[in-house]
Amino acid sequence: MEGKTFFIDLTRCTACRGCQIACKQWHKLPAEKTYNWGSHQNPKDLSYITYKLVRMEEVVDKNGHIKDWLFFPEQCRHCVEPPCKMAADDYDEKAILHDEATGSVIFTERTKKLPFDEIKDACPYNIPRQDPKTGMISKCDMCIDRVQNGLLPACVQTCPTGAMNFGDRDEMIKLAKKRLAEVKKTYPKAILGDVDDVRVIYLFQEEPEKYYQFAVASLEQKNLLTRKELLANVFSPLANLKL
């Protein structure tokens, strides 16, 4: 399969949030007005001006002792067969574009006219967000402008630890599988998320549901059965959790 792919090795992520800030910087996105809500995770959620967010989850053992602090740099997965586009095409084929060379899924200004709920529900990862003022729907664009000019996406460029990787899809899948084999020795539950279906492949050291409700598509489908499941028939839960 061609195009580009991210490989995000969560065993290496230190939640420095360089990626979160670099994304804002490159896209010239304004800061949100936040407050400390009893967590370091901030903003609390993705928004139409926050495309990349490092989620932080504490895992506590039965004695109440901290066992793990899991970090999940969340972004659009750039699905190989993007269900958001399938949903959008019913209304306007130019609202959501699917770049052939990279596989990037791009929301254009014409998303303003799309029914937001349908687009949102189509996404198994709960990614699209809408600007309440303009109605435009937005999310990660794979830094398509950078990538087309031979640069790495801003989040990948800034990552100090090698958690964020980006390149040709076959190479990234090879790297992901190699890392999985290594990491399994330390983390027997390690798993790659939705390898065949997405262009943002996460390597989880623990069960994906511990990171975030929508970490992998199958989880979401387990939790919520909506019409997007029908639309996004491409996702087969068992096949997605291949080792």
Binding site: T14, C16, K24, E32, N36, S39, N42, W69, F71
Partner: protein
């Protein structure tokens, strides 16, 4: 760092203690992760489970300020189980040295203590000398007064039970860490320590580092790849500023500040030039007069050496002019004016309310910064009445780092040149330009109006700092720091013309024929060019094995990337760890890194900067004892600890006025508190709080606490609470998290909370004020660094 960032990847075991490297030195984790991939164990010891702990193989909780108990126990464990690297210990450390009979240790105090002055007479700790004046040694390590036996005796008290009782660390965690760390005593294994302010900002800060240095020497982990004692510096150029010695007690290159009791250059040199009669000791500081003369000539190029020595400022004997003392004296009205340059003491200095009040005693203050801050605006801050404050404040906006050309020296001692990326904004100037303009004005005033002792100002070789356009010139400064020949000098048959740059510090002279602004940096800007600007990845096969890039930037001293590297080989020059050799003798020369002196293997002792040439397990030069000893922080939760009757470091720096508010073991303030940083902000936040994206990620002052404490206090996660002690009060958002946990200390439950010190009342609104409002102005006797990492507070609902 004795080593450097890339070298972390060579380690078999990385201990992060007194540091939260993943958050505060994020790039370091590039190399930590490489080490882990090769099988290294990562250990994090900290009161809090942080983003660093999240990546560690072992996390062990410890109560703030109890590190010496833990490290003393580790020393005992290594000795009891004979896990030390004996050949290294005998050949390269002072373990075999015999200490004189006057050295004693009783009830937490060493011999020679004067309770009135709270100082030690260090003559009690001297080595026993032979007829040539060299320390007597027993290489069998059996003599009852040899360092090795004294070490054993000293740490006999540091049992696992006692360590657990004091630190609150579970016994099984202690043993697990000891076992893994001590396993690197094998010749081909190495372990490293990454530490930062969590170790230094204590009344036992220096002894924390000393304790670790002893561990590393016992295990043969100094001088080797993946080893060393590595201080992670908290600012991009704090290593550079340390090397150039902006602190009061040292001059550039770690030369001592002259004292009033040293009236001549000869007196001064005599006092600070060590003499050793052992021909095998390189005793590198015997070159002191060359470095002091070259420094003086860099200041006053045309003057007579002796006369110019008089122009250097002198300290009174026994004078402490450290930051804590300056502010204490400022509070007493002893200063008229103050330059707050690139700093924010009203938020950054321990006991900020005291610092803020001290500023109000000034006639004037000049603030040089890129943003408004709590210092510049102290007069309109909380509790201040602007009408009653006499201090006149001037604010000079300056250029930011990327607008200035010059060098930055990183933690690994790499001097890296950088170019100005853009011009400063209108009316903002680089610091160098501000200093030059200021100096010219001051000089003009002395010229036209006279004044007390104008010679030091009027004779300064200021022309060396500026270009033809009379502007500050970073290249000329860098060349002056490197140094020039001032006369034609012939060395080993080669003549160096006056005006040429000195190739290395080995060429510096004591007679005034050379100048060098900082001998350690001699070799950084030579006739070959600006070495710090080099960006070549060229390396030899041996260098590639351990990630050495000798042609990338330049490193002091003489581009040596790993300090004390002669200790990485045996007496024949064979690397102890052949798979990761730092240097090796190929039969005719050394290959790999630049060796610690080019002598043949075994010709000189390995630790060339020490008078006797040995690594110091026994350190008789420290103010508070030759061995680290356990003391509680000045504010602590327990009245007794199990190691001695001496509760606190008897030499701690303390002040007596009504703003100190020291309270220990009180039901009013029963909770241990520590301060720290987060990735998203920097220092007092002057640069980062104004950055919307960073503020978005960490918007407000918070206080992290364990769920049991929160429940006891009726505090809910995310709620605004009060953190307070006698020095002040803060409002902070409670983060209730299992990443903190209560400690069992001497049979009782002790809770610990933590607050970041990035915030201040100026901006943002409702962001919270400075954590240092709560920290005490007490200090370490060696460095005067404040104890901001362990003190007592209470937390309550609003």
């Amino acid at each position: 760092m004795t080593n450097h960032w890339i070298d972390l990847k060579n380690s078999d075991c990385i201990l992060i203690m007194g540091s939260n490297a993943a958050e505060n030195h994020p790039i370091s984790f590039k190399w930590v992760m490489r080490a882990k991939e090769k099988g290294a164990t990562l250990i994090h010891i900290d009161p809090r489970f942080t983003r660093t702990s999240a990546k560690a193989d072992i996390y062990a909780p410890i109560r703030s300020g109890t590190d010496i108990a833990f490290l003393g126990g580790l020393i005992k464990y290594i000795l009891d189980n004979k896990l030390y690297f004996k050949e290294y210990v005998v050949n390269y450390t002072n373990a075999s040295f015999i200490v004189n009979r006057k050295f004693k240790f009783k009830d937490g105090v060493f011999s020679g203590f004067d309770p009135k002055t709270r100082k030690y007479d260090k003559s009690y700790w001297k080595f026993e000398l032979d007829k040539n004046g060299n320390p007597k040694k027993d290489p069998t390590l059996r003599h009852s007064r040899c360092v090795f036996q004294l070490l054993k005796k000293h740490y006999r008290r540091y049992t696992i039970d006692r360590v657990a009782e004091v630190t609150g660390m579970p016994k099984e965690d202690i043993l697990k860490v000891y076992k893994i760390y001590a396993s690197t005593g094998k010749p081909d294994k190495s372990a490293t320590i990454m530490y930062a302010m969590g170790w230094t900002q204590h009344t036992v800060g220096v002894q924390n580092i000393r304790a670790m240095a002893i561990v590393q020497l016992l295990l043969g982990n100094i001088g080797v790849a993946g080893g060393g004692v590595n201080a992670l510096r908290g600012e991009s150029n704090v290593q550079g500023s340390t090397d150039h010695c902006l602190l009061y007690h040292i001059l550039p290159g770690y030369l001592k500040t002259p004292k009033a009791s040293q009236p001549t250059l000869a007196d001064y040199n005599k006092k600070y030039t060590p003499i050793c009669h052992d021909p095998k000791s390189a005793n590198w500081w015997h070159n002191y007069p060359k470095y002091s003369a070259s420094f003086i000539k860099a200041m006053y190029m045309d003057a007579d050496l002796e006369e110019a020595y008089h122009w250097l400022p002198k300290l009174d004997d026994g004078q402490n002019a450290s930051f804590l003392v300056i502010f204490d004296e400022m509070l007493k009205g002893k200063y008229k004016g103050f330059f707050s340059w690139g700093q924010n003491p009203a938020a950054g200095l321990a006991n900020s309310n005291k610092a803020r009040k001290a500023l109000s005693q000034l006639d004037w203050m000049v603030v040089v910064n890129i943003f408004d801050n709590e210092t510049a605006s102290f007069w309109k801050g909380p509790g201040m009445d602007p009408e009653k404050i006499k201090t006149e404040v001037f604010f000079l906006p300056c250029a930011v780092s990327v607008e200035k050309e010059g060098s930055v020296t990183n933690s690994g001692r790499w001097m890296q040149w950088r170019y100005a990326a853009r011009k400063p904004m209108v009316d903002c100037k680089p610091d160098g330009d501000i200093i030059c303009e200021l100096f010219e004005k001051i000089r003009h005033l002395y010229k036209t109006e006279g004044g007390a002792y104008p010679a030091p100002i009027l004779n300064l070789s200021f022309e060396q700092w500026i270009n033809e356009k009379k502007q500050y010139d970073p290249h000329k400064i860098a060349k002056l720091i490197n140094g020039y020949f001032l006369k034609d000098v012939t060395i080993k048959g080669k003549t160096y013309k006056a005006g040429t740059l000195v190739p290395s510090f080995a060429y510096l002279q004591a007679d005034g024929s050379t100048c060098s602004g900082n001998w350690l940096y001699c070799g950084s800007y030579t006739e070959k060019g600006n070495m710090a600007a080099r960006r070549s990845k060229a390396q030899t096969k041996e260098q590639a094995k351990i990630g050495l890039f000798p042609n990338w930037s330049w490193c002091w001293p003489v581009n040596r990337r790993i300090l004390y590297n002669r200790a990485s080989v045996d007496l024949k020059g064979r690397p102890y760890a052949p798979q990761k050799p730092v240097i090796q003798w190929d039969g005719s020369k050394w290959i790999g890194d630049v060796p610690d002196g080019g002598w043949k293997p075994g010709a000189k002792y390995a630790f060339i900067m020490r008078k006797y040439g040995y690594g110091q397990i026994y350190g008789p030069g420290r103010a508070d004892g030759p061995f680290p000893e356990y003391y509680e922080p000045l504010e602590c939760p327990i009245k007794h600890h199990p190691f001695s009757k001496q509760l606190h470091n008897p030499l701690s720096i303390i002040f007596k006025d009504d703003m100190e508010g020291l309270v220990s073991c009180s039901a009013k303030y029963p909770i241990v508190c520590s301060t720290y940083r987060v990735t998203e902000h920097w220092q007092t936040g002057v640069m980062t709080r104004w950055q919307p994206w960073l503020l978005e990620a960490e918007p407000q002052l918070f206080v992290e606490m364990d769920p049991i404490l929160a429940k006891k206090k009726g505090i809910k996660n995310g709620e605004l609470v009060i953190v307070e002690n006698e020095r002040g009060q803060l409002k902070a958002v409670a983060i209730v998290t299992s990443r903190l946990r209560p400690f069992k200390v001497m049979g009782k439950t002790v809770h610990e909370v933590g607050i970041p010190w990035h915030y201040g009342w100026v901006y943002p609104k409702n962001g919270g004020d400075a954590a240092n409002i709560l920290t005490p102005s007490v200090g370490d006797p060696n460095t005067s660094i404040p104890e901001t990492k362990a003190f007592m507070v209470n937390v309550r609902k609003i």
